[in-house]
Point group: C2
Chain length 117, copies 2
């Protein structure tokens, strides 16, 4: 594994953890997890300006956790589950000595879903 690749992985991990290190952004991910929501609909749910919510969505988008799809004049945000699994496998690695056991549990719980990032 070349050094540059490790840097990229670290960049991705930085972005993912940083994106989730804010309760509003975690809540946004939860709310767009099922069906998508427009940025305005999202913003209505929080006691802050539209622009603030928009910036939160932008952070999630840059981290790859959310994608937007334009529908008419609205921009619908959807959660991307792949990066979440990436984080979970990173955490599994961090757990170290328990990594195999945990991974086995994950595979069981994930069931139909593929496990690689």
């Amino acid at each position: 594994m070349i050094d540059r690749m490790k840097g990229l992985l670290d960049d991705e991990a930085d972005a993912l953890f940083q994106a989730l290190a804010d309760r509003t952004r975690r809540d946004i991910v939860r709310r767009v997890a099922g069906e998508g929501l427009s940025v305005s609909d999202l913003a209505d749910g929080y006691d802050m300006s539209f622009a603030a919510v928009q910036k939160h969505v932008a952070v999630l988008e840059r981290a790859g956790l959310v994608t937007k799809r334009r529908v008419g004049k609205r921009q619908i945000a959807h959660a991307e589950v792949g990066p979440l699994r990436t984080i979970r496998s990173m955490l599994a690695e961090l757990e170290g000595q328990w990594v195999e056991r945990v991974q086995r549990i994950d595979d069981l719980l994930a069931g139909d879903q593929r496990a690689g990032s």
Copy 2:
């Protein structure tokens, strides 16, 4: 579930994700995962001052990811695996394969996912 408890959980999640949102701190967790390491031994591994590494360890300690145990004049840092599992279950919740079940629980217990930051 009272509102204050959700706030505490959010505080914990904020601290955990924030603590892991730095590659040096993730590396520290990796390095102390098996046997512990003194702060100086840790600091030798990074191209930054001892004080900087010490502050990273302090952040991990505040988040509960690392504990220190004094041995002689050294302070040995150990990784705590519990909080890592806490994060992993939070991520599992976010992933949405359990979204319906989780949503039902949330609706029963609180109803208000919206977090005024």
